[in-house]
Subunit: 215 residues, 2 copies
């Protein structure tokens, strides 16, 4: 990251940032598969070797895009689901925001979940994901006991994620109307899960009066 005000002699003051932006642009137009370092370089008017001064390879650029995606994701979450309403409504708002993000920033969502990027090989991505995950858990915890919060969190996250993915598959139709439909459904599902959250916890603790341990 070059210091600000360092608008230099060549083309861009910050090729690194420009590459990230162009990657997003390109993925939006042609999908993840249609993105390449070479094409991004061409579009920016730099040599195809220039990106290697900032990224070791193609995957590292994608990882940088993923980091940016999580940061934006987190930022939009704070503004979308930070009203001090009832806890259940906050959680529903998060699910709604999750789906809306997927609809509004499809290329970013594609990089996060459809690019086949191995996040374990890129610690920066994991680190960028953490605050996002924490904010999510903070919304869930007041709604259930400590032990059960993990179950509710997993359920809501999966539900939101499923709606987002199917939205991008076109299952809810096209355009902004589809986004709102999917987001609204995800929010309702969340409220339903909160109401019936007692069914989500696994009866793995035989101390409870319930029986039927599963195989």
């Amino acid at each position: 990251m070059p210091g600000p005000g360092k608008r230099d002699r060549y083309h861009h003051g910050d090729l690194r940032a420009a590459l990230i932006g162009t990657a997003i642009e390109l993925i939006g137009e042609r999908g993840v598969r249609g993105f390449s370092l070479a094409e991004a370089s061409r579009r920016l008017g730099v040599a195809v070797s220039a990106p290697y001064a900032h990224f070791a390879d193609r995957d590292e650029l994608l990882a940088a895009v993923a980091v940016h995606a999580y940061e934006l994701f987190y930022a939009e979450f704070l503004t979308e689901a930070n009203q001090d309403t009832a806890h259940a409504d906050r959680l529903a708002a998060m699910a709604r925001g999750y789906v809306r993000f997927a609809g509004a920033h499809r290329p970013l969502f594609d990089v996060l979940f459809r690019a086949g990027l191995d996040k374990d090989r890129h610690p920066e991505v994991k680190a960028a994901e953490q605050p996002f995950a924490d904010a999510f858990m903070d919304c869930v915890r007041p709604l259930s006991g400590e032990a059960a919060s993990e179950d509710l969190a997993a359920a809501v996250e999966a539900a939101a994620h499923g709606h987002a993915m199917l939205l991008l598959e076109g299952d809810f139709g096209q355009g902004n109307e589809a986004v709102e439909l999917a987001a609204e459904r995800a929010a309702r599902v969340t409220l339903a899960l909160v109401e019936s959250r007692h069914l989500l916890t696994r009866p793995s603790r035989p101390s409870a009066p319930q029986a039927t341990p599963n195989a």
Copy 2:
């Protein structure tokens, strides 16, 4: 599939089927992005031009894999969720089977949902999806009024899909243990959604006071 004794010489009895199988194999090893007609041909010991006698291009082979995926998906569903138990349990079993399929046939699931294949451009895929979708709706319909069945179906499908996708992302861990954890969670979420299905319907019709019938 080919004649059992027709081994050597140059060709297979059924190159088309062999290509589909090899494609699945390859995708399992290298991901969708690492699959190519050339590599599949090499692995089968045929010329790189041979596949073009059976598929117009790369996408058509992927579409054939997708058709196979939906057929297998449907077949496993019938055996997994066909017990005549309570309706809610059947639906939960479908969600469980959905996730298990993703875990057991990851390459097929990848082709269906992560290959970026435009299903609208391949009618065979849509056709193969239909029986699957029908079986799903047949499980949902007895559980809610006609008008509301679409809401419950969308909710359960999205929940199952979300668990499946996050399973393949590694969010539930690795190995068969992760598959069963995700599948069990999807089943529980389904039961929770059934119980609170009255929250899923949109109140767009203020004239109808009659909510979903209990069961």
